[in-house]
């Protein structure tokens, strides 16, 4: 066989593989949306769940998912921002920095179930926080920190050193250069990173089943006092999220319409992630234009 026919066969094969992969991926997306979207209705998205009967909704789980996401982001963003600033703007290139980077990499490669088990051991049992939103938010923070730190550091890296030199030459201290010059310029790509990591946090379940718990007690949406047990804002109540809900009703199998509910919930999760993705791209571009007048 000469090399030209070989070339043709190989390229054809690659076309086949790529086509097959696109087919698999599109079938996957198509299946999720086609089986899930018909389940969606206002009732499904807002009504509380029913454990043994048909016709329950996922209102409480959906709310819990967003509440946990916001809490986890509020805790993890300042820490990740500080860590990224120190790593990129201050840290010297020596073995200490290398070790710290390795530690962050290890944290990002830990299976999320291990992070969840640690959260269970430390927050739920040792600190007596119980299965609660707070425990869940801390577990999600640990899961999120390494990813967010890396993405913010990458954002800082895209800002050219000319900007840093300019700030220092004007007599600003390093910290002022970072907060007044570098961060404003990096805002669009930091925001993109934050939204993308929010998507990952939103769908995380393994880190939550033993920290935020697997039950969703009824909430009273007229009571916004965070100290009342049925208040949506109470951070000490157990809170099953949408992703945990899908896992739980499928592995327990006592809900008669578990399949319909899980299809609907999967579609909600995927649509939410799609929206996060589009928002990240759109807002990033928009802000970049706004801030740089490019």
């Amino acid at each position: 066989m000469n090399s030209k026919t070989q070339n043709k066969i190989a390229i054809g094969g690659l076309y086949g593989i790529a086509g097959l992969v696109v087919l698999i991926l599109l079938a996957l997306l198509g299946y999720i949306l086609a089986s899930g979207v018909p389940q969606l209705s206002w009732h499904f998205l807002t009504a509380p769940g029913k454990a043994f009967l048909k016709g329950g909704g996922v209102g409480i789980q959906l709310y819990n998912s967003f509440y946990l996401l916001i809490l986890a982001m509020l805790i993890s963003f300042p820490i990740a921002l500080g860590a990224a600033i120190y790593l990129y703007e201050y840290a010297k290139d020596n073995w200490v920095t290398t070790t710290i980077r390795t530690a962050i990499e290890i944290l990002s490669s830990l299976p999320s179930v291990v992070v969840g088990l640690f959260g269970f051991l430390f927050f739920v049992v040792k600190l007596h926080l119980g299965f609660s939103i707070l425990s869940g938010a801390f577990a999600l923070t640990f899961f999120n920190l390494p990813l967010l730190t890396r993405s913010i550091e990458d954002s800082l890296r895209t800002i050219s050193d000319v900007q840093r030199e300019g700030g220092l030459a004007l007599g600003l201290s390093r910290w002022e250069t970072v907060t007044r010059v570098i961060l404003p310029a990096a805002v669009p790509s930091i925001l993109t990173g934050v939204i993308l990591s929010a998507g990952r946090v939103f769908g995380e379940a393994a880190a939550l089943i033993y920290t935020a718990g697997q039950s969703a007690p009824a909430l009273d949406f007229t009571d916004w006092n965070p100290f009342n047990i049925s208040s949506p804002l109470n951070p000490m109540r157990p809170a099953e999220t949408l992703a945990v809900h899908i896992w739980k009703i499928n592995s327990e199998g006592i809900m008669p319409d578990a399949k319909a509910i899980s299809s609907g919930s999967s579609a909600v999760l995927v649509i939410a992630i799609l929206l996060f993705n589009f928002a990240a791209r759109y807002l990033g571009k928009r802000l970049y234009k706004r801030l740089t007048s490019a």
Partner: protein, 309 residues
């Protein structure tokens, strides 16, 4: 005299900007140290719980790693508790290696297509789709596995449909986007003039891809595959939903079995803290932690070797 002293003191005092600088540096350093503390705490806590099986329950490490029956509540024939983790360890490795073997050709083939053959279609269709699929939650993969893959396996091979084969299918689709996009990054890093030089020597496109681009990108491609394996090894819920959760040695690909993660997720809520059953589960978590460190080390070694060449 007094005025000069006052002036001196004033000049030697830290300026507002200098104070702010120290403060900012301290705050950002604290944040970084917090992350390091978290890593140390996770490893410390899980390790101290995990070795309790061996130190306070006096199970031998060898029995744990090689024993074939997992039933921590019951004492076996020799009067010792049955905490053989081999079925789970084998299950985890089998499912990881199989899914990596299936996913690698697809992922690398797609990455080559995206980068070398049709960059236009790649950038327009493949890249957005893979990036989106990287973000799909693992429970969604598990649910689809449960409602599509398991019934299909049952129809073809009989039995319950739960088992290593279903788990492999789910993990294959799950790690495919990750490995593909990392492989594409690796291929993109190969300098353009490598390709130009090869084509100028009269090599066909396939020869260029096979003999030049893939060779030059090997360390990056290997990193991508190991990364996918690490993800497959640590995946809990998606696997737990389709593997059948029977702590038995897998004797075929379609019989119910279990992995480290699946036993952990189902078991930890049903055992009492401090009991042997519970400690044995923490030992499984320790194995999981250890393996994730090993994967990390492999990725590092590949990276270092790739840089030397």
């Amino acid at each position: 005299m007094k005025t000069t002293e006052q002036l001196e003191a004033k000049l030697k005092r830290r300026s507002k900007a200098a104070k702010l600088e120290i403060w900012g540096r301290l705050v950002s350093l604290t944040a970084l140290m917090l992350i390091v503390a978290v890593v140390v705490a996770i490893i410390g806590f899980v390790a101290s719980k995990g070795i309790a099986t061996f130190t306070s329950n006096h199970v031998s490490l060898w029995d744990f790693l090689s024993g074939k029956s997992w039933n921590p509540g019951v004492n076996g024939a020799n009067g010792k508790p049955e905490v053989g983790a081999l079925p789970m360890i084998v299950g985890s490795f089998l499912i990881t290696i199989l899914s990596a073997i299936v996913a690698t050709p697809f992922a690398i083939g797609t990455a080559v297509f995206m980068n070398e053959i049709s960059p236009n279609k790649g950038a327009k269709i493949l890249q957005p789709v893979t990036e989106l699929l990287v973000g799909i939650p693992s429970v969604v993969y598990g649910f689809i596995g449960l409602s599509v893959v398991v019934p299909t396996t049952r129809a073809i091979f009989g039995g319950s449909g739960f088992g290593i084969l279903s788990g492999t299918c789910v993990l294959f689709v799950m790690i495919l986007p990750t490995v593909t996009s990392m492989s594409a990054d690796a291929l993109r890093a190969v300098p353009r003039y490598y390709r130009e030089a090869s084509l100028a020597l009269g090599a066909t496109q396939w020869q260029t891809i096979y003999k030049v681009v893939l060779r030059a990108a090997t360390p990056g491609l290997m990193t991508a595959v190991v990364f996918g394996m690490a993800r497959a090894f640590g995946e809990a819920l998606a696997v737990q939903m389709v593997i059948g959760n029977a702590a038995l040695m897998p004797n075929s690909l379609v019989s119910p079995s279990s992995t480290l993660t699946s036993v952990l997720t189902t078991g930890i809520g049903n055992t009492v803290m401090g009991s042997l059953q519970n400690n044995a589960l923490w030992s499984l978590a320790l194995v999981l932690l250890f393996m994730s460190l090993v994967f990390n080390l492999i990725i590092r070694l590949i990276g270092r070797k790739g840089r030397l060449q």
